[in-house]
Amino acid sequence: MNFIFDYYNYWIVVFLMMAGFYIVISAGNLVKKVVGLSIFQTSVFMLYISMGKVSGGTAPIVAEGVTQYSNPLPHVLILTAIVVGVATTAVGLSLIVRIKRAYGTVEENEFEDKDDAI
């Protein structure tokens, strides 16, 4: 049981990662694919954020009487990655808008049929 509870943050990461990955692969709806992609990326954010935790450490703000701090660097890194993730989602969604205009659908199998007809 300890194996599960001691590493619970990693279990959450793995679960989210696989769930997101599965959605990306299995979903036929493009919006769902983007949702899956976001969940997939979020799992990696969790991985980074949880690795910055130092046992017994507090928030990395200088204060009196505190000697041990958590590592702030992974948080800063992931701030950048979140921005990248938002940008990716934005580009993905705007592509979907244009696909909807061009094909009239956002279901993957439907627009593939339409292109074959040309």
Binding site: F21, L77, I99, E112, D115
Partner: protein, 515 residues
């Protein structure tokens, strides 16, 4: 001042110029400015290569924060070489694109095209010269996001689905790299590449490090479109505007190959990757399959851009094959092919774009009788096509020669034979197009067309002449590639020496071991 900050300029110049282009508004003004900036970046890259070849490695601390805490830009023979390729191809493609995009991109989006192109250039330059593993991920995403936009600019609606598929695959690849870098950071507490290289071997057999390696290798393989992770590439290059295909085919995947080389040789150490993790065997098999699958698919396509896209998958196979041989000669062959393939694929896509400009189609039927109607374009296509096949006096021959020599050096007779057999398949797919152009009469009712203007021909022919020049006089390319591959192997051996002193065990010298 300028001298000191030279290392940062390849990123800064296009990054600052990109938003200015949106303000400029007018399409022709934007074109002139973008070409000017890209030309400047090219000059800087040339200057950097010269400086690196004479004075050795150049290190630059971004914002004055010294490594390993701050982000380090680190320029050595390997990345200065690839940087020059990227910047020169970008400039030539921009000159070419002025007319080419008239037919392929909606006029209201012309300035956006130049903006996205420069952002992509900034991202690619950043990937090349950064010495920080996390920073590499950020630049990778900058260039990728610009790439998705570029692909989706074409007026054919199929480019949208191609761009979306590319976005999904590309994001998964980049996220895999992010996971891998995170695992390295967990164990070593550093992100600077050199610092990583020194510390990784304290935890040599750690499962975390090896899992990180696996994530990074898979992520990079998606980015460079190694079989079987190449499915995004053919539709993206087929449906993108021709100028974009020419730029991406000759730079984006090459930069990803460089990233793989960097991770293998500088960070993890070739000995660890190839001998202990036996990645060499995996990469070699995948590379050979890529060569044959890519060439076969290219031979059965009727869309000529699709032929070239599938052929790119095959050519990436050759590069990875060179890397997977795990010898200085093999690595050198891979690096030379990065340069040479940029020359030939750039010229081929430009020629096809010129045909599209006149004919409005890139189907193989549209090529019938073009040998007479567009003699200069088709001559360019022919020479670049012969270069893909590997005919002597072209750069393609030089790459194949070094690759075969490197394979024979390690007694891989079968690999050498397979490389040559792959060239035969290239004869088939290039030959079909040449046959249509020179030996078939145009279909009845097909319009007769004129040659395109010099603005499209000039950049195309510069690449074609470079194909011949570097095929005859190989001293510059082989010199630079040799210096780069020796340096990378030296990196690897330093890591080995470090391990030896740490573990007190004997580790064989990398070059003498066959995978």
């Amino acid at each position: 001042m300028l001298e000191q900050n030279l290392a940062a300029l390849p990123i800064i110049l296009p990054l600052i110029a990109a938003p200015i282009i949106i303000i400029l508004g007018r399409s022709s003004l934007a074109w002139a400015f973008a070409t000017f900036v890209s030309g400047l970046a090219c000059l800087v890259a040339w200057e950097l290569l010269a400086s690196v070849l004479s004075n050795g490695v150049l290190s630059y601390a971004v914002g004055g924060w010294s490594a390993p805490w701050g982000i380090e830009l680190r320029i050595d023979a390997a990345n200065a070489f690839v940087l020059l390729v990227v910047a020169s191809v970008s400039t030539l493609v921009l000159i070419y694109s002025k007319q080419s995009i008239e037919k392929e991109i909606d006029p209201s989006r012309h300035t956006l095209f130049y903006t996205a192109h420069l952002l992509c250039l900034a991202g690619l330059s950043g990937i090349l010269i950064t010495g920080d593993a996390f920073n590499l991920f950020v630049f990778l995403e900058i260039s990728s996001l610009a790439t998705y936009t570029l692909v989706s600019l074409a007026s054919d609606r199929r480019c949208l689905t191609a761009a979306f598929r590319y976005l999904v695959m590309g994001t998964i690849g980049a996220t895999f790299i992010l996971i891998g870098v995170g695992m390295l950071y967990m164990k070593t507490g550093t992100l600077n590449m050199l610092d990583l290289a020194q510390r990784i071997h304290l935890y040599d057999s750690s499962r975390t490090i090896n899992t990180g390696l696996a994530f990074i290798m898979v992520g990079v393989s998606i980015k460079l479109a190694l079989f079987p992770l190449h499915m995004w590439l053919p539709p993206a290059y087929t449906h993108a505007p021709s100028a974009v295909s020419a730029f991406l085919a000759s730079t984006a995947t090459k930069v990803a190959v460089y990233v793989m080389i960097r991770f293998i040789f500088t960070i993890f150490g070739a000995d660890h990757v190839f001998n202990e993790m036996s990645m060499g065997a995996i990469l070699m098999v995948l590379a050979v399959v890529a060569v044959f699958k890519g060439s076969y698919m290219a031979a059965v396509q009727s869309n000529v851009k699709s032929v070239l896209a599938h052929s790119s998958v095959a050519q990436i196979g050759y590069m990875i094959l060179g890397v997977s041989l795990f010898s200085a000669a093999g690595l050198m062959a891979g690096l030379i092919h990065i340069f040479n393939h940029a020359l030939m694929k750039g010229a081929l896509f430009m020629a096809v774009g010129a045909v599209f400009y006149r004919m409005g189609s890139v189907d193989i039927k549209a090529f019938r009788g073009l040998g007479k109607q567009m003699p200069f374009t088709m001559a360019a296509f022919t020479i670049a096509g012969l270069s893909i096949i590997g005919v002597p006096l072209t750069v393609g021959f030089v790459s194949k020669w070094y690759l075969v020599v490197a394979a024979l050096e390690q007694n891989h007779w079968i690999i050498a034979a397979l490389v040559l057999a792959g060239s035969l398949l290239a004869v088939v797919y290039i030959g079909r197009i040449l046959e249509a152009a020179y030996f078939n009469e145009p279909e009845e009712g097909q319009k007769t067309v004129k040659e395109v203007s010099w603005l499209m021909l000039a950049p195309m022919w510069i690449l074609v002449l470079a194909n011949i020049y570097f095929g005859v006089d190989t001293s510059l390319t082989t010199d630079a590639a040799q210096r780069a591959s020796e340096m990378l192997f030296q990196n690897s051996q330093e890591i080995n020496a470090l391990m030896e002193s740490l573990h007190g065990t004997e580790v064989s010298v990398a070059q003498e071991v066959s995978p």
